[in-house]
Amino acid sequence: MSEQANKDNTARFYEEVFNKHSIEAVDELIHDDFREHVVLPPGMSDDKKGALTLFEQWFAAVPDLAATIDDMIASGDKVFVRSTISGTQTGEFLGMPPTGKSFSIGSMDIVRIQDDQAIEHWGIQDTMAMMTQLGLMPPPAGGEHDH
């Protein structure tokens, strides 16, 4: 598949899944042999079933969940996406109580595409900023970071 096709598929995932909350699109755009490399909470499986469960929980806990793609880079079978994810957390999410507060955080993700579907995912979100914005953690005192 061409790099442009991989970008188009990835952009479609953000539109259909993050913005339209289509669980059918998760099913369609994620490969049956999908492998999640993000460190998951206990009890979450690192396969396609786990991805479906995670997005169902996102949609339930953050009814106005939305994502904006800030940049994309494609090379070979991989696509990198820098995005901004926002929403209001009105339901319990991964053990966090409902806060009714809004968040807007950066996310950096890498997917490997096979057969027009995501087969591997690596990603890091600014979870600390999310916890701070939701009032679940005091603001950081500042300091450590890396380049």
Binding site: E3, V39, L40, P41, P42, D71, I73, A74, S75, G76, K78, F80, R82, L94, G95, M96, G106, S107, M108, I110, W122, G123, I124, Q125, D126, T127, M128, A129, M130, M131, P140, A141, G142, G143, E144, H145, D146, H147
Partner: protein, 141 residues
């Protein structure tokens, strides 16, 4: 297809990995703009070098493993894994030396102009690091 950008970013990540900070001077603009949570207080290449030295003090046995690098045009990304032992402490987080082992990843995007990095964006798996350091309760995310 981003070949030149990828080569420069590889040299940069190898320089950070090998603590060869002088090698960075020709590869990163001194006044480069870093969009990294927490980097506002220490801007520029000198600030990034300072953060690297802090990290080395906390984790003297620190090892960086370059997991993935690719690019397109004037941008490239790197995914890096860091392993190390907290034998030096992270006073800026209020964490004393405790022998805890960390094993985390970060992703950085680099934008280049005229063969030098002028802008970066990065996310680091801080929650996992804080848990491994014993400074945050069990996994929440």
């Amino acid at each position: 297809v981003g070949g030149a950008s990828v080569d420069i970013v590889r040299r940069i990540e190898e320089a950070w990995r090998d603590d060869d900070l002088d090698a960075l001077d020709g590869l990163i603009a001194e006044d480069f703009s870093a969009h990294t949570p927490g980097s506002e207080d220490v801007p520029g290449l000198s600030g990034a070098k300072m953060a690297h030295q802090q990290s080395l003090q906390a984790f003297p046995d620190r090892q960086n493993h370059i997991q993935d690098i690719f690019g397109e045009g004037n941008r490239a990304i790197a995914r890096v894994r860091m392993t190390g032992t907290n034998t030096g402490g992270l006073p800026w987080f209020g964490i004393p030396a405790n022998g805890a082992k960390v094993d985390i990843e970060w992703i950085t995007e680099f934008r280049l102009e005229d063969g030098k990095v002028v802008e970066t964006w990065a996310q680091m798996d801080l929650p996992t690091m804080m848990q491994q350091l014993g400074a945050m309760p069990g996994p929440t995310m």
